[in-house]
Symmetry: C2
Subunit: 206 residues, 2 copies
Amino acid sequence: MKIHDISMTVHSDMQVYKSRQEMRPELKITRDFDDSAARETTLCMNLHTGTHMDMPLHFIPGGATVDQLDLSRLVTACRVIDLTGVDLVIHAEDLMPFDIREGETILFKTRNSLSEDFDFEFVYLATDGAEFLAAKGINCVGTDSLGIERAQSDHGTHKTLLGADIIIIEGLRLKDVPQGRYELCAVPIKIAGAEAAPVRAFLIER
Amino acid sequence: MKIHDISMTVHSDMQVYKSRQEMRPELKITRDFDDSAARETTLCMNLHTGTHMDMPLHFIPGGATVDQLDLSRLVTACRVIDLTGVDLVIHAEDLMPFDIREGETILFKTRNSLSEDFDFEFVYLATDGAEFLAAKGINCVGTDSLGIERAQSDHGTHKTLLGADIIIIEGLRLKDVPQGRYELCAVPIKIAGAEAAPVRAFLIER
């Protein structure tokens, strides 16, 4: 069994969405060995930091939350598909060659995985690509940017996917993972009523 | 494949160690549908909140941290052992009947799993129990209290386990899980340099 860790490391200088200062995680050591027997740390973070999943409530009022998720949806067979040839936007026509089927979990490997800095020109999924995946009835889509859409004023990609009950994973790191089939484990921290949660995502190759 | 979720739900009124106010997680909605297209939440939490793992740096200056962990140590066969008959303290003699072997991952199911309130008289592992596990050379020990020790001024249980490179998982929920063998998945959020991290722990029964 080989495990591929496909998660970002959380630290105060990590890439954050649009490099917004308020998105930076804060780690604070609250007890340490100078005057205590132990070290303890507190973390403050936006739930959309680093590798995380989005649930319907992120864009749909009254939508499902992280604590309602059936874990078997994120402990599942998956396919990494190589889209490193896509320059800026993933359209339906880029996905058509992959024979995507109902119930699948699809992870996009793009040029986003090649840099640890936030790229304002990150590769994203167009609304027509999201509609293609929704029509297929997939289970989950993962991507290696911190947002699966970019500057779409109607938020069509998120709304189409979440409205079709497709789980979204953002912030994957896929540089070292070749296209292919794997087992995915990407279960979120169980947070009551939350629209998103951090995950430690990894792939198993048997 | 059956999945048993053995994690606490994180919310502001959850049980926290010794009911300390400063240990309470804070969830704050920072964007919502009243004036935005999306909901976003920020979480502030001590890394020892809810279901979490301790690494050596928690009690050993210069010890290993969460981001250095080999994930295969927490994606592994395990055994849940039923210690619900133990009143207050788990000693070596309570563990002897279980034929514990080198490299095993052992999860303690105690009466702590029966309540969602913090119990100041929670069941814990005595230093001699930790020494027994260290001598066996186990991989990981999990427990269903928020601390694996209680009021030991020398912190003998933590120091013995972490000094022997035994991973500690605290805050498991095992009420609905019978004693037996399972596959455990309990990988932590990858936090740079941290002595602990939240995990979403679950058992797989095939």
